[in-house]
Amino acid sequence: MAGVPFDLQLLNLCAALLLLLSFAMLTQRRLVNLVNLLAVQGTVLFVATLLIAWRTRQAHLYLSAALTLGLKVMLLPYLLHRLIRRLEVYWDAEPLLNISGTMLIGVLIVVFSFGLAQPISALASTATRNAIGIAVAVVLLSFLTMITRRKAMSQVVGFLSMENGLFFGAMSATYGMPMVVEFGVALDVLVAVLVLGIFFFQIREQFDSLDLHHLESLREDATAGERE
């Protein structure tokens, strides 16, 4: 442990915090807290990007960090909070699996992702290569979050958390993607949330609820609703 530079220690701390946040999101039932956790995740990403930018002296990473701050820490949580207030959906009470079981599966997933990321870490030349496994774990944990939820809003937060994990993976494996791509991805995420906002209103209008239980009626031999 001797001699690890301080900024690398901070980066490792950020990686550990990201993992912790993903688990916290897995077990959080209150939607407002879920969105706040997403904002904290964005903040940790922002700090990590700044550290890498400072360490590798790549100017475009500062721009990427600013983009992360603006989008993932401020704009997206604000949009989601506004949606929560207007749709008045505050709780995601019934998980599909109980909390302890979910957490145990989460631990298994983390072990699996570490194993998956081993060959990549071995080849990487970045200082943060050990954190690639954590990025893959965050992605898979977000996926688990999406699967075990009933409310559409929680699934959206899981989806955005997955994007965060991918971003962190890109950051730790290759010090980020070219700026063009990062802008494109950021734009896509923003538009996705906007589209979802519109979507939720449509769902609420039709079903008076954002419980996904109502969206399970189409089956294999389904008949489209009778027209006229």
């Binding site: 990686a15 993992l19 302890s100 957490m103 954190a131």
Partner: protein, 316 residues
């Protein structure tokens, strides 16, 4: 075995026995301050123990020998544990008896005897308390073991004094794995010692009791020993926490005897801060419903496993 080591060992045992009730009193004092009421005296636990020793023991007619034996076994286990944990020094001859994992086993032995004795009389509340106590213990033990695993992995040994020495000589830095395991350990401490949010130590409602319910049948010297043992358990857990996470100030191998004396005020300071922190935690949390206790402990286990995984992956 050098004479200094024997002296160290005895000193540690005496300090543990003497300071444990004071620690409990201090926590109650802090809690009272936070709740804006005047506290009973810090020395009240001592007076309570002394009072109980002067009384005559009343035992149920159908109590077996196990019931009479249990308080001594429990108290003895706690005393041995206090001797093993390096609260003031790492040169303790008694530590060759048990390493960290055996220490967990020792605590488990105490718990088993306490639960068996509670079920011995056959009352409903005793059995209730015993079952709940065992549930909490059975879930907390993996978390505690995982914490010890992480510490052992970092220090390449399972002997608690060696772990303490290794961690005390590490460079100062950010160790996320230790941070996670510290949180896990704190949660296990709260659960095992019957503090809020798992159990309310001051409750009078039997249906909400976990630990207290196992003590309902005891009186006089047996009750005194059980209370003292509970205080010792809390003291021991606090010292394990210090040994693993705040190891500085402990007189290590090769330091002068005066370091031994210097470690006493350090220990006192650590206990004071820990007691205040515990009181704060108890004040801001609400007691969990009993069926939520497994979730709490699963979270503790999760933190410990996360600490392990982070250590394995990031080598921090």
């Amino acid at each position: 075995m050098k004479p200094i080591e024997i002296i160290t060992q005895l000193l540690e045992l005496i300090v543990a026995l003497a300071a444990a009730p004071l620690f409990v009193g201090w926590i109650n004092q802090c809690r009272a301050w936070l709740q804006n009421r005047s506290a009973p005296s810090i020395w009240l636990p001592y007076r309570g123990i002394r009072k109980l020793f002067h009384k005559d023991a009343v035992i149920a007619t159908n109590a077996s020998r196990l019931f009479r034996l249990a308080p001594y076994v429990v108290f003895g286990a706690m005393v041995i544990a206090a001797g093993i944990i390096p609260s003031m020094a790492t040169r303790l001859p008694l530590t060759q008896v048990a390493d960290a994992i055996a220490l967990v086993g020792l605590l488990a032995t105490a718990r088993v005897f306490m639960s068996l004795a509670a079920m011995d009389i056959g009352t409903a509340f005793g059995t209730l308390g015993a079952r709940r106590e065992m549930m909490v213990g059975f879930l907390a033990e993996p978390a505690l073991l995982m914490v010890i695993f992480v510490a052992s992995l970092i220090s390449a040994t399972t002997a608690l004094p060696a772990i303490t020495e290794h961690l005390a000589t590490q460079r100062l830095g950010l160790y996320p794995s230790l941070a996670f395991t510290a949180v896990a350990f704190l949660m296990v401490l709260l659960a095992e010692n019957a503090r809020i949010p798992v159990d309310n130590p001051a409750t009078h409602l039997e249906l909400t009791m976990i630990h207290e319910a196992t003590l309902l049948e005891y009186s006089a010297r047996h009750l005194a020993l059980m209370d003292w043992a509970a205080a010792l358990k809390l003291f021991n857990y606090a010292c394990i926490g210090f040994a693993l996470f705040i190891p500085w100030g402990v007189s290590t191998r090769g330091s002068a005897p005066v370091a031994l004396l210097a470690s006493i005020p350090v220990l006192a300071a650590k206990l004071a801060v820990a007691g205040a922190l515990l009181a704060v935690l108890e004040t801001v949390s609400a007691k969990l419903r009993v069926f939520r206790a497994p979730e709490f402990l699963a979270t503790a286990f999760l933190f410990a496993v996360l600490g392990l995984l982070v250590h394995l992956l990031l080598r921090v």
